[in-house]
C-alpha cells in the first residue's frame, strides 16, 4: 500500500510497478485458460475426456477482465463453456482437469464433467448446460444477497444465444423490477452453435434490448482485456453500490467448433483467421512489450510456468480415483447416506 508521505516520483514508480504487475497477471490468467483448453482438446482426441467439450479459446479476455473485479463474496453462474471462468475464479486447474476425467477428485466429484464444474468454496455456482438456464438462478442468488443485506453481487455469464430464450427476458425483467444486484455478462461470440446472431434476433443491439427493461447496460470489445476490465469495474461497482442489475455485452469470438466436432458450415475459415488477428493474448502481450512492461524472455517464462501447471493438472487427473459404483445414488438427496 502506498503511504501518503511518498514523493511524487516514488508514487509514480510504484504505480508503474503495480500496473506492470496487474497487466502481467491478466496476461498470465489468459494464458492459463488458453493452455488448459489446448490440453483439454488434445485429451479429448485421446478419449481421456468424453461427453461434450466446449472450449473457450478466443474468449479469454472476457472471463479474465470481468472476474478480476469480483470480490470473494460475489457469486458466479456460468454455462457449459465455463472452464475459464472456474479457473480464474480460483478453482484449481487440477480439480478442473480431474472433473473432466470424471474422477472423484474433480471439483464436482466426477458427476458433472466439463459442462458442470462447481465449487462452493469460491461461490462458483457452476456450469449449466441448458441455454439461459443460469439467468433465473443468478437472479435468485442476487435476491438472497439483497434480502440478507450482503454487499455481494451475482455475476452471470451466458452466450448471445441465451437472449433468444424466454428465461433471459423473464430474468432481466425480474432483476430490474426488484432492483437486484446481478451483473449479466453476455459473451456475444456471434454464433449459437451454427446460428448466426443476426439471423436469430430482430433487434441485434443488445444494449438497447437491455435498456428496454430499464436496466443500465453497455457493450465492450471482448477481445481487449483492459477494455473489459475497465467496463466491468464500472458495472460491478454500479450493481453493488446501487443494488441494481447491469447488462454488459462483451463482443468476442470462439475459435473452435461449438463442441469438439462440428462441420463449421456456418462460417468461413477466413472469418476465423480474421478474428485470430485480434487474439486477446497475442495483442495484449504485444502491447505490454511496446509499453516495456514485458520482455520476450518474461513471456516465455510465463508460458513455461503455465505449461508446468498444466502438466501437473494432467498428472493429478491421471492419478485420480474412480468413485465406487456403490455410491451411485449419493447426492440425489441431501440426506442420502451411502
Amino acid at each position: 500500500m502506498a503511504t501518503k508521505k511518498k514523493t511524487p516520483a516514488k508514487k509514480k514508480s510504484s504505480r508503474k510497478s503495480r500496473e506492470k504487475e496487474q497487466k502481467r497477471h491478466l496476461l498470465h490468467q489468459m494464458i492459463r485458460i488458453r493452455q488448459m483448453e489446448e490440453k483439454a482438446y488434445e485429451l479429448y482426441t485421446q478419449e481421456k475426456i468424453r461427453g461434450f467439450l466446449h472450449l473457450y479459446d478466443g474468449e479469454e479476455a472476457v472471463a479474465v477482465g470481468v472476474i478480476e473485479n469480483l470480490q470473494k463474496e460475489d457469486s458466479i453462474v456460468a454455462t457449459y463453456r465455463e472452464h475459464g471462468h472456474a479457473l480464474v475464479r480460483g478453482v484449481s486447474m487440477e480439480r478442473i482437469m480431474a472433473e473432466m476425467y470424471g474422477k472423484l477428485e474433480g471439483c464436482s466429484g466426477g458427476r458433472g464433467g466439463s459442462m458442470h464444474l462447481y465449487d462452493k468454496e469460491t461461490n462458483f455456482f457452476g456450469g449449466s448446460a441448458i441455454v439461459a438456464n443460469g439467468l433465473p438462478m443468478a437472479t435468485g442468488v442476487a435476491l438472497a444477497y439483497k434480502r440478507q443485506q450482503k454487499e455481494a453481487i451475482a455475476c452471470c455469464f451466458f452466450g448471445e444465444g441465451a437472449v433468444d430464450e424466454g428465461e433471459f427476458h423473464e430474468s432481466m425483467n425480474l432483476a430490474a423490477l426488484w432492483k437486484l444486484p446481478v451483473l449479466f455478462v453476455c459473451e456475444n461470440n456471434l454464433y449459437s452453435m451454427g446460428m448466426p446472431f443476426e439471423l436469430a434476433e430482430s433487434e441485434t443491439d443488445l444494449v438497447t434490448k437491455a435498456r428496454s427493461y430499464k436496466m443500465k447496460a453497455s457493450s465492450v470489445n471482448g477481445m481487449d482485456v483492459l477494455a473489459v476490465l475497465q467496463e466491468a469495474r464500472k458495472a460491478v461497482a454500479y450493481a453493488r453500490d446501487n443494488q441494481q442489475p447491469y447488462f454488459l455485452e462483451c463482443r468476442t469470438y470462439r475459435y473452435r467448433a461449438h463442441s469438439m466436432f462440428d462441420p463449421e458450415r456456418y462460417r468461413s475459415k477466413e472469418e476465423v483467421q480474421e478474428w485470430k488477428k485480434k487474439d486477446p493474448i497475442t495483442t495484449f502481450a504485444e502491447k505490454l512489450k511496446k509499453e516495456q512492461l514485458l520482455t520476450d524472455e518474461e513471456l516465455q517464462h510465463i508460458n513455461r510456468e503455465v505449461a508446468g501447471e498444466v502438466a501437473q493438472a494432467v498428472q493429478f487427473a491421471e492419478e485420480g480415483t474412480d468413485e465406487p459404483i456403490e455410491n451411485l445414488s449419493q447426492f440425489v438427496y441431501s440426506n442420502s447416506k451411502n
Binding site: R50, G51, F52, G102, K103, S108, G110, R111, G112, G113, M115, H116, S128, A129, I130, V131, A132, N133, G161, A162, D164, E165, G166, E167, S192, M193, G194, M195, L199, A200, E201, D262, P263, R265, Y266, D322, E323, I325, L328, S329, V332
Partner: protein, 332 residues
C-alpha cells in the same frame, strides 16, 4: 429390381428420407428447429434439406423452444403440417407448456373444434457421458399425458415409416429418436412404405419369457435374448413402438403365451412406462403369470458423467440375462 429394395440404411438416413418424402408429397409440410438448416441438424439428420427445399420449408429457429414449438402447434391448428425438431428431449422441457398445455388439450378443450396435427421430433436417451442435463429418457413422462401420441422408433423401418402416418394423424404426435441409434445401420427393403403407428411388434419369438421394451432397450434385449437362447431359454422380445396409446393386445398375447414378463427401459421405474405395463399385466393377466413381473430400468439418479457410473446406471444386457435366469420356473 427397385433401387430401394435390398439397400442398407442408417437410422439417420431413414429419418431424413422420411422427411424428404413428406415434404415432396405435401406442400403443407415444413421442418422447423434449431440448426436444422445451415448446420444440417445437430445430429446431421436434415443435412442437405435446406438446399433441396429452401428457407421457407427448412426453417432455422433461434434458441426459443417454447416459441417455435408453440408456433408449430399454432400453424398446425391453422392448416399446416409442421415437423418441429427439438434437439433433445432435455430442451423440450422449455417447450413443455406448449406441448402439454396447448397441443395435448386443444381439441378436447375446444369441444372438438381445433385439432393439432403437429409432429414433434426429438432425440432422447443417455449413454454418451453427457451428464445430468443431457441424458434423459423423458418419453415415459410425455406418455403420461392424454391427448399426445408417443412414438419410439427402434428400427430403420420404423424410423423410415412412422413419420408419414404421424403427419396424417389429426392429433399431436411426438417422435422420440434415441440418439445412440442414429448411426445404427440395417438392411432396408421397405421401399418407403409406411408402417402403422398403433401396434407393438414381436421382434423375436420365444416361449419362456416376454421382454417388453422399446427404443434402445430393444437392441439390448435382443442381445440378451441371443445369449439366453444358448442356455436354452427362449425369450420373446416385444417392441412396444408406441408408448401412448399402449397396445395391450400384443403385449397381453405374448405374456399369455410365455407366462412371464420383464420390462426393459432406460427410463426410471417410478411412475414410468414400466410401472404402467406391470400394472396392466397384473390387473388383466394375474392368473396367467408364473412369477412376478420384473423390471430392468435406469437407476433412479440423474445421469452421472463418469463413464463407469453412467454405465452402471443404465440397463445392460447382462442385467437382463441375470434377471430372467432368476425368474420363477425358468430353467435353461
Amino acid at each position: 429390381m427397385n433401387k430401394a429394395a435390398q439397400q442398407h440404411m442408417t437410422y439417420r438416413q431413414a429419418v431424413r428420407e422420411a422427411m424428404r418424402e413428406a415434404m415432396q408429397k405435401d406442400d403443407r409440410v415444413f421442418l422447423m428447429g434449431e440448426d436444422v438448416g445451415r448446420y444440417g441438424g445437430c445430429f446431421n439428420v436434415s443435412e442437405g434439406m435446406l438446399q433441396e427445399f429452401g428457407e421457407d420449408r427448412v426453417v432455422d429457429t433461434p434458441l426459443s423452444e417454447s416459441g417455435f414449438t408453440g408456433c408449430g402447434i399454432g400453424a398446425a391448428a391453422a392448416g399446416m403440417r409442421p415437423i418441429v425438431e427439438i434437439m433433445t428431449v432435455n430442451f423440450s422441457l422449455l417447450a413443455a407448456d406448449q406441448i402439454i398445455n396447448t397441443a395435448a388439450v386443444l381439441y378436447y378443450m375446444s369441444g372438438g373444434q381445433f385439432n393439432v396435427p403437429v409432429v414433434i421430433r426429438m432425440a432422447t436417451g443417455g449413454g454418451k457421458q453427457l451428464a445430468a442435463q443431457h441424458s434423459r429418457s423423458l418419453e415415459n413422462w410425455y406418455a403420461h399425458i392424454p391427448g399426445l401420441k408417443i412414438l419410439t422408433p427402434a428400427t430403420v423401418e420404423d424410423a423410415r415409416g412412422m413419420l408419414w402416418p404421424a403427419l396424417e394423424d389429426p392429433d399431436p404426435v411426438l417422435i422420440f429418436e434415441n440418439s445412440t441409434l442414429y448411426n445404427y445401420e440395417d438392411a432396408y427393403s421397405g421401399n418407403g412404405h409406411t408402417v402403422d403407428i398403433s401396434t407393438a411388434r414381436v421382434r423375436r419369438a420365444g416361449s419362456d419369457v416376454s421382454i417388453l421394451t422399446y427404443g434402445i432397450g430393444l437392441h439390448k434385449s435382443l442381445k440378451a435374448a441371443e445369449q439366453l437362447s444358448k442356455q436354452g431359454i427362449e425369450a420373446e422380445v416385444v417392441d412396444l413402438r408406441v408408448l401412448r396409446p399402449l397396445d395391450n393386445e400384443t403385449v397381453f398375447a405374448s405374456v399369455r403365451k410365455t407366462h412371464r414378463a420383464v420390462i426393459v427401459d432406460e427410463g426410471w421405474k417410478s411412475g414410468g412406462i414400466s410401472a404402467e405395463l406391470s400394472a396392466r399385466i397384473t390387473e388383466s393377466l394375474f392368473y396367467d403369470l408364473d412369477c412376478p413381473v420384473e423390471r430392468v430400468c435406469g437407476a433412479e439418479v440423474p445421469a452421472p458423467y463418469a463413464r463407469h457410473l453412467e454405465q452402471a446406471s443404465l440397463p445392460q444386457p447382462q442385467q437382463i440375462i441375470e434377471t430372467i435366469q432368476k425368474m420363477g420356473g425358468i430353467h435353461g
